[in-house]
Symmetry: C2
């Protein structure tokens, strides 16, 4: 069992590297780790706060023998991805950890991965809690991230409008394939939260969500949120061409080599989780501005379909000839994307 | 293993009772549970944010068979207590939970305890994360609480000044005694975060901390924070009369009945954790105003000692005759207060 002294090592570690290179800590009204609560410098008059929390549990979201640097990165990245999906700029985060024991090199690598991303994202670690768990217990990391948006401009899930185009950033399917095949892949190990894209979409996109559970599942979240918000019941359908999804290089290559059928590759892109790309909706009049945004950010932005009123709400997967997908793909979609449970 | 549908039950439960009676949710710029991030209405121009996180782990901070209502209360209360110690007004909180399974009556009681306190404290639940843990794993709850303070008025730990009086709210020792004796006690099961006191101390107290790990330990935190902040090394000593500590009714009664020696009773008050009272420092000129505050709040506020320059920094426990405490009490203090590890 770890003792208190060993946990103090973490506190010391944090007060050094966590503060490094973060202008936050030079603000006279900021207060970081070490008091009852952290203090955040005042926001601007036209700014409001966005808050998201995600918990990662050993054996459920990651394996005990995973690379600690990559885990540290990911624990923060999945939270920053939520801010990206709101169009929010990161402000600060807290980390609570339940650990079986203090393995110093492991912790140092974990924090190195986490704090590198924190510095890149200008999102300082300002507080949290470290607790020992029993020798047989799972380790657990819980992050809460705070961000800032201009008042009234956040990219909410429920802003979807009939007639909107549907877009995704980057490419899909590689994270699920890498996990399934035991391949080391940067998409899986070091997902890049699409923060700059999220900020760029403010004023352009009508709704956005990050793809953590799979494209099919996130499309349903957008449709359901819009339907809940509507004053009258409205049946919205997402109409998406499965043959034009932006497939990741791993699955594109596997499909070319005949190791995946086109349906299997599309199925991974549609149901695979852990993507941390953005799915967003925008009016057709914004197409040119969105198409210009991609090259600016060095990030593919692909129009995958549109939203329509329909008697059959939900996602309609089709090909260019408006035909239904093959049965094997329909099965894969019905079985569902990544599930936590 | 719980399935996703069962976890959706929690989401439904939260969207009803969590929102009830919380003016927060009626603010047009607020967004609660259900999007990538929650949105907090803008703060006032002279306000800044306070953030604290605490994690409670089954088998470490509470027992599997504890009362779920009391647990729900406590998970939020320990976080609100951190805000109280900063002089902050609660704003909102997030809850992340790792659960083995969904026992509906258990979850309902847990949320009832948590959300009752949330409503009393005007601190709505705005987001979080629910995850299944393995069948053998410990359950875990992680809360992050957000609060508001007027710019520059937060009660920081490091504000302690030589010459300050030291004060504690309420009474001490009962929580540790109840835990040790297996007694049901409201102090242990339903600690009341001292939010109103914290707000009342803004402008009066020079420093404050909440007593979660025990009075001795928190006194050392205040002294160390002041010493770290000082431009030049200064040796500060807390000088405290152990015979005049406000003992809880349980241990006072036990001492009267001869089941505890005076030293043992004082030892519990000095080392016992889970108090969630405030320890604070204030200049002697504030005595009258602080003494008036107690009756206003219906809460005992006891002056327990003072802070002085000294060649021997740390806490000096003494009696009215300036004598050292008996050896049995000194031993108890040396062995330390409540430790997580």
């Amino acid at each position: 069992m770890a003792n208190l002294g060993e946990f103090e090592f973490i506190a010391q570690l944090l007060q050094g590297p966590a503060a490094e290179g973060q202008p936050f800590y030079r603000h006279p009204l900021a207060l970081g780790i070490g008091d009852d609560a952290a203090l955040i410098p005042p926001l601007g008059p036209q700014e409001q706060l966005a808050v998201a929390s995600d918990m990662l549990i050993e054996g459920r979201h990651y394996l005990a023998d995973c690379d600690p640097r990559s885990l540290g990165h990911k624990v923060l990245a999945v939270n920053l991805s939520d801010l990206a999906a709101m169009g929010a700029r990161p402000l600060a985060f807290t980390l609570s950890a339940g650990l079986r024991e203090i393995r110093r090199p492991w912790i140092e690598s974990f924090l190195d991965g986490m704090l590198s991303l924190a510095r890149e994202s200008q999102c300082p670690l300002v507080g949290g809690d470290t607790t020992a768990v029993g020798a047989q217990a799972s380790e657990v990391f819980s992050v809460t991230v705070l961000g800032v948006v201009r008042v009234g401009t956040a990219l909410r899930r429920d802003g979807l409008q009939p007639g909107d185009d549907l877009w995704v950033s980057g490419h899909l399917g590689d994270a699920a394939f890498a996990l399934n095949q035991g391949i080391d892949d940067s998409k899986l190990n070091a997902p890049q939260p699409r923060l700059v894209l999220g900020l760029g979409l403010v004023g352009l996109a009508s709704a956005a969500i990050d793809i953590s559970d799979g494209l099919q599942s996130e499309l349903m979240h957008l449709l359901n949120a819009a339907q809940r918000r509507a004053a009258q019941p409205q049946c919205l359908q997402a109409n998406v061409n499965w043959q034009e999804l932006p497939l990741g290089p791993l699955i594109r290559q596997a499909a070319l080599a005949g190791r995946l059928t086109p349906s299997q590759a599309a199925g991974l892109a549609i149901t695979g989780g852990d993507e941390y790309e953005l799915l967003f909706a925008a009016a057709p009049r914004e197409r040119a501005r969105i198409e210009a945004l991609g090259p600016q950010l060095g990030l593919a932005l692909t129009r995958i379909g549109s939203v329509e009123f329909s008697d059959t709400p939900g996602v309609r997967w089709r090909d260019a000839a408006e035909a239904q997908p093959p049965e094997s793909l329909q099965d894969m979609i019905t079985r569902g994307g990544f599930r936590h449970f």
